[in-house]
Amino acid sequence: MSPNIVLVVTIGVLFAAGVYLLLERSLSRVLIGVILIGNGANLLFLVAGGAAGRPPIVGTEPEGQMSDPLPQAMVLTAIVITLGMTAFLLALAYRSWQLHRHDEVQDDVEDRRIARLAAVDERAFTDADTEIASDTLDVEAAEARDETDQGAPARETPREVRP
């Protein structure tokens, strides 16, 4: 089956523009990019599903000329989910504005901290258990005592008591 050049070009442009915006820092631009890519992907779904046809409604159209209903069902839910995601990302943008007065996606602070520490060969956290301790095996062994039952008291005491 031969592809439809107009749709192919449209898809390509939607993806290119979408990716260009997706790599921005402003959350609303990122979101616009995502929506553009979503539109492109939806079209790609239809194109991959086959050529254009008549609406897939039984009875009104001859069966052989119908377009494939399965990609349509998938795309339909994808469209609505895009709406949900748009709303969510916009709520994020609002929250970002509330906190920082802009909607830029900043670099992760924790990641930056780790990178900074790694650059100077410092540890991001210290755990005494994993340190190269100066304690040798013998010292540690000497400290390891069980909670034992000593039994009868030391030998001096019984000698005094028994006789």
Binding site: S2, L14, E24, P55, L83, R95, R123, A124, T130, A142
Partner: protein, 1033 residues
């Protein structure tokens, strides 16, 4: 065997409760579990000896071929005896060893029994994967036991070290087991051993992996260091895990696979090198320790090397000696650990430099220690002697003379060391010394603190108490057993020979107490004498050892390696986790371009012919899409970008329509409209312009990547239509939709019936998204209030806050002052208490709550007229969707838009009047309805989400064709309405309220740069939000 495992499990589970009830006496009860295993093994003795051991097979996961298969042969029998017998004795020992007030005894008992059960499973499992499972269980339980004193750093570190090393080995072993299982075609241990796969590189790798597991578990070099460190565990744990049970798991593995692979040169050399090395290193280091437990630990390392050597070398004679050694070692080493525990309990120290006169005070303990030591150093007539004698004899007759000589020399030297440290141990623990080291010095392990150098006549030895005699008996039993079995060597040979006979090579060996004055006996004598000499000159040996170069300690190397690993991990994290979203996305996209684009270019055929379009109209809509997409990328004003995006979206809807997808076109148009509104609601807050990015260079990178992705996807779009190899699954959808789904609109039937599970998942996503939006705005609540018109606050008008430029024109008199005070409702009295009469005359119930300059009579009239029509239309879409374009999604969106226009025309109080319900209720009800329909179908005897078609003839109305999936669609409808309502309540109403109450600063900074004119005109053309945006006058 399953029953025994269940007994262990039950005992482990009830152990904490039991200990709370009975205190430390509970260990008596717990000891019954391992004791039952030992008794059970004993009851099978004769049948196992005859080769008729029990086999149990319970299907576990048949699909994966995983079965619970257990088998008891001679090797398993011996191991079960050791595991069960020593386990029971050590548990009895625990009943007197710990203080009654000791912490964590319940957990200790439980884990101990669990370990015992895991060990039992490990040695009886006949399925290799089952064996691995138990192997890892012993690793985990031993971790818990070593780290019993979790508040001590040394304990935690030792436990962590042990689990890291043994788990790493265990994983390697798993690889080996899987390689073997796949090569052999079966995972049954007995079958693999009977017909071992040979010769392929995979088998060689498997052997190395298996031995890696054994080497780590049995603490052979270079992984031996975890065992001495694990002495941080309570002494009973050392006696059980580090003498009898866990470290023997590696030996067991070697012994299990030796009959199959001992002839392999890889196997052979690994065993010889690591076995000899461990034997010598362990003995050498044991000579120099002051801590009794450390002497035993290094001694155990040494002995493990010996046993692995004997069972791994692969002749019948060495195998028999190895098995005998295994049993003997379990007895004498466990006994010695228990004895050391008694000394520790009695004196409060295990430092031999501080002990003197213990033997005189604790005579029975000293006797048990002496018997066990005699067995360890191979003094006749003890089990250790019999086993070692058989081993030396067997080694002297190896076929491979080079390896034989190496091993024989190593074992002889190792035995000399064993004699020396064995004697030193007993001397250190029990002898009466002329002088001991003062307590202060004993805390140091520096050179020069040995007993020979630092002893003081004035120093008092550690005081000695008399612990319960119960502590001595388990050790005594084991020590006497070591003597008893040696007196009946023929019985031992008889019992163990069936295992040795499974080896393919060599003459059968013998266990004898007195074989005459053979060269081996002479060698034994020489060993004993040299060892004794080494003990006598211990002072010089110790001094020499202190002075000699020690080489890098494996423990240090390990810690440094772990530290380096942490550093590398940090470096890798620093390089890969830059924390920059564009970078991450860019990387993902580059991978996409390279992998997918490369495949498209490299290995697909591009279609020979292409069509320009299906219909010319496609070109028109496509041009709209392309133009809007290109302009969006260049837009610097947010609102402009959003409007352009909307135009593109509507054009895509046109493409859908032309493609033969009316449902999609409908949904796309509706969604695009709602999206636009949601955007504008939030854009009220965001700055009007996108901020500039200073780095111009990155723009070109983004552009290049965008183009690359665009071209790649276009390539996919070119190739995809021709790539179909199979018939579409949807070929029968038309037929199925009509006859089973009861609908003519195939897309809708697909959504609510054929692929209803998908839809269910998708509306769940919508629910989550809606909840997420509400939570991001309300933060600590799920939803805000529902604003009803009669609750409107008179002193604060909706969307007020800016001066009304038309105030002077509105109504003469009295109003201007109120408006000046902050955009209040002009006729204050009237709106504060809206009379029903006045409300009746309003077009919209809550219109009065708006600031006067925000009201639009035309808009209100249109909304009043349109709202109910839209609702009716959405109901129509909902009900007709099964047979014509429409359905729950479209219907829900239309209802949502109806709510939106009510909100836009009348503000948040109007929204409350239009939809006086919480969005969460709608969402929950919707999902409940969809899922409920599915479950009802299940109750009615069908499958989940199956539809039922009901045709009823109703007089007057006509035929009603009802399909139960309508209720599913109703659920979809409710979820979509709930989503829109949630958005309006949070991003609409709540943001309004915050602007009015001053929680959100608006005005100046949000709208400062906004230029009235083009933006508001464009907005007015599409969604009519013009004029109410915060800053537009």
């Amino acid at each position: 065997m399953l029953l025994l495992l269940a007994v262990h499990l039950a005992a482990a589970v009830v152990a904490p409760v039991l200990v709370r009830w009975m205190g430390r006496k509970a260990f008596w009860v717990l000891a019954l579990a391992p004791a039952s295993a030992a008794a059970w093994a004993l009851s099978w003795t004769s049948r196992v000896q005859a080769g008729n051991g029990p086999v149990e097979n319970v299907e576990w996961i048949p699909v994966l071929g995983l079965n619970l298969t257990f088998r008891l042969d001679t090797l398993s029998w011996l191991m079960t005896l050791v595991v069960g017998g020593v386990g029971a004795l050590v548990l009895v020992y625990c009943a007197a060893y710990f203080k009654t007030s000791a912490a964590g005894l319940g957990r200790f008992g439980g884990v101990f029994v669990a370990f015992s059960g895991s060990m039992l499973g490990l040695v009886t499992a006949d399925d290799m994967l089952l064996l691995f499972t138990f192997w890892e269980l012993t690793t985990v339980t031993s971790y818990l036991l070593i780290g019993h004193y979790a508040e001590r750093k040394a304990s935690r570190r030792a436990a962590m070290q042990a689990i890291v090393i043994t788990t790493a080995g265990g994983l390697a072993m798993l690889v080996g087991l899987v390689l073997l299982g796949e090569s052999a075609g079966t995972y049954l241990l007995s079958e693999v051993i009977a017909n071992p796969p040979q010769g392929t590189p995979a088998v060689t790798v498997a052997i190395v992996c298996l031995l890696a597991g054994a080497v780590t578990k049995s603490a052979l070099i270079p992984f031996h260091f975890w065992l001495p460190a694990a002495m941080a565990a309570p002494t009973p744990v050392s006696a059980y895990l580090h003498a009898a049970a866990m470290v023997k798991a590696g030996v067991y593995l070697v012994a299990r696979f030796a009959p199959a692979y001992s002839t392999d040169p890889t196997w052979m050399w690994i065993i010889v090198v690591l076995g000899c090395g461990t034997l010598l290193l362990g003995g050498y280091r044991a000579l120099r320790q002051h801590d009794l437990k450390l002497i035993l630990a290094f001694g155990t390392v040494s002995q493990l090397g010996l046993i692995v050597l004997l069972v791994g070398l692969g002749t019948r004679a060495t195998a028999l000696a190895g098995l005998a050694m295994l049993g003997a070692h379990a007895m004498f080493k466990a006994a010695l650990f228990l004895v050391v525990g008694v000394v520790d309990a009695a004196t409060g120290t295990r430092d031999l430099r501080r002990l003197s006169g213990v033997g005189r005070e604790l005579k029975l303990t000293a006797l048990a220690g002496a018997l066990a030591t005699a067995s360890m150093i191979g003094l006749p007539p003890f089990a250790g002697y019999v086993a070692k004698e058989a081993g030396l004899e067997a080694l002297g007759h190896l076929d491979d003379t080079t390896a034989g000589m190496i091993v024989l020399v190593a074992v002889s030297v190792g035995s000399v060391l064993t004699v020396a440290y064995g004697l030193r141990l007993w001397w250190g623990a029990f002898s009466t010394k002329p002088a001991v080291v003062p307590e202060a010095v004993s805390e140091s392990t520096e050179p020069g603190t040995s007993i020979h150098e630092a002893a003081h006549d004035a120093a008092e030895p550690a005081p000695i108490t008399h612990p319960s005699l119960l502590l001595v008996w388990p050790a005594m039993i084991l020590a006497v057993l070591g003597l008893a079995v040696a007196l009946l060597p023929a019985l031992g040979e008889h019992l163990l020979a069936p295992y040795a006979d499974t080896y393919p090579e060599g003459e059968p060996g013998h266990l004898v107490l007195w074989a005459g004055l053979t060269p081996t006996f002479v060698l034994t004598l020489a060993i004993l004498l040299t060892g004794a000499l080494l003990f006598v000159i211990r002072e010089r040996v110790e001094r020499w050892q202190t002075a000699a170069y020690r080489g890098p300690e494996a423990d240090r190397v390990y810690r440094r390696f772990m530290r380096r690993l942490d550093d590398v991990a940090a470096d890798v994290t620093a390089v890969t986790q830059r924390g920059s979203l564009p970078l991450y996305l860019g990387l993902i996209l580059v991978v996409f371009v390279v992998a997918v684009g490369g495949t498209v270019l490299g290995s697909t055929d591009f279609p020979a012919e292409v069509r320009l379009w299906d219909t010319p109209a496609q070109a028109v809509f496509a041009a709209g899409v392309i133009a809007s997409a290109l302009l969006v990328t260049r837009a610097r004003r947010r609102l402009k970008a959003v409007i352009l995006l909307g135009i593109g979206g509507y054009s895509v809807a046109g493409l859908f329509l032309l493609h033969g997808a009316p449902d999609l076109a409908l949904t796309q148009v509706l969604v695009e409209t709602v999206t636009l509104v949601v955007f504008v609601l939030v854009l009220r807050r965001l700055p009007p312009y996108f901020s500039d990015r200073p780095l111009a260079a990155s723009r070109w990178v983004r552009l290049a990547l965008g183009l690359a992705v665009g071209v790649t996807v276009a390539g996919i779009a070119l190739v995809a239509p021709g790539a179909r190899m199979h018939l579409p699954v949807s070929t029968d959808f038309a037929e199925e939709a009509y006859s089973f789904g009861g609908g003519k609109n195939i897309v809708n039937v697909t959504l609510v019936d054929i692929r209803a599970w998908d839809t269910m998942g998708e509306i769940s996503v919508l629910l989550v998204a809606a909840t997420g939006v509400a939570s991001l705005v309300f933060l600590s609540r799920r939803a805000g209030a529902i604003y009803r018109a009669d609750e409107a606050r008179a002193e604060r008008a909706v969307w007020g806050g800016v001066p009304d430029p038309m105030a002077a024109l509105r109504r003469p008199g009295g109003d201007s002052a109120a408006v000046d005070a902050g955009g209040m409702v002009a006729d204050r009295d009237e709106s504060a208490v809206p009379s029903s009469a006045s409300r009746g005359r309003e077009w919209l119930q809550a219109g009065r709550t708006l600031a006067p300059q925000r009201r639009s009579v035309i808009f209100e009239v249109i909304v009043r007229l349109l709202f109910h029509t839209m609702i009716v239309y959405s109901v129509y879409l909902l009900f007709s969707g099964h047979n014509a374009p429409g359905g729950g999604f479209a219907a829900g969106l239309v209802t949502g838009i109806a709510l939106i226009v009510r909100y836009l025309a009348g503000g948040r109080y109007e929204l409350g009047e239009a939809a006086p319900v919480q969005a969460g209720l709608l969402l929950g009800l919707g999902l409940f309805l969809s899922a409920g329909v599915g479950l009802l179908a299940l109750l009615a005897g069908g499958e989940v989400l199956q539809s039922w078609i009901i045709d009823i003839h109703v007089p007057v109305i006509g035929d009603i064709h009802l399909v139960t999936s309508l209720f599913f669609d109703l659920g979809v409808y409710l979820v979509v309405v709930g989503l829109v309502l949630d958005v309006l309540r949070s991003l609409g109403a709540e943001l309004d309220r915050r602007a009015e109450s001053g929680e959100d600063p608006v005005g100046g900074d949000a709208a400062g740069g906004d230029i009235p004119g083009d933006a508001s005109e464009q907005v007015g053309a599409t969604a009519k939000p013009a004029g109410w945006d915060g800053g537009v006058p």
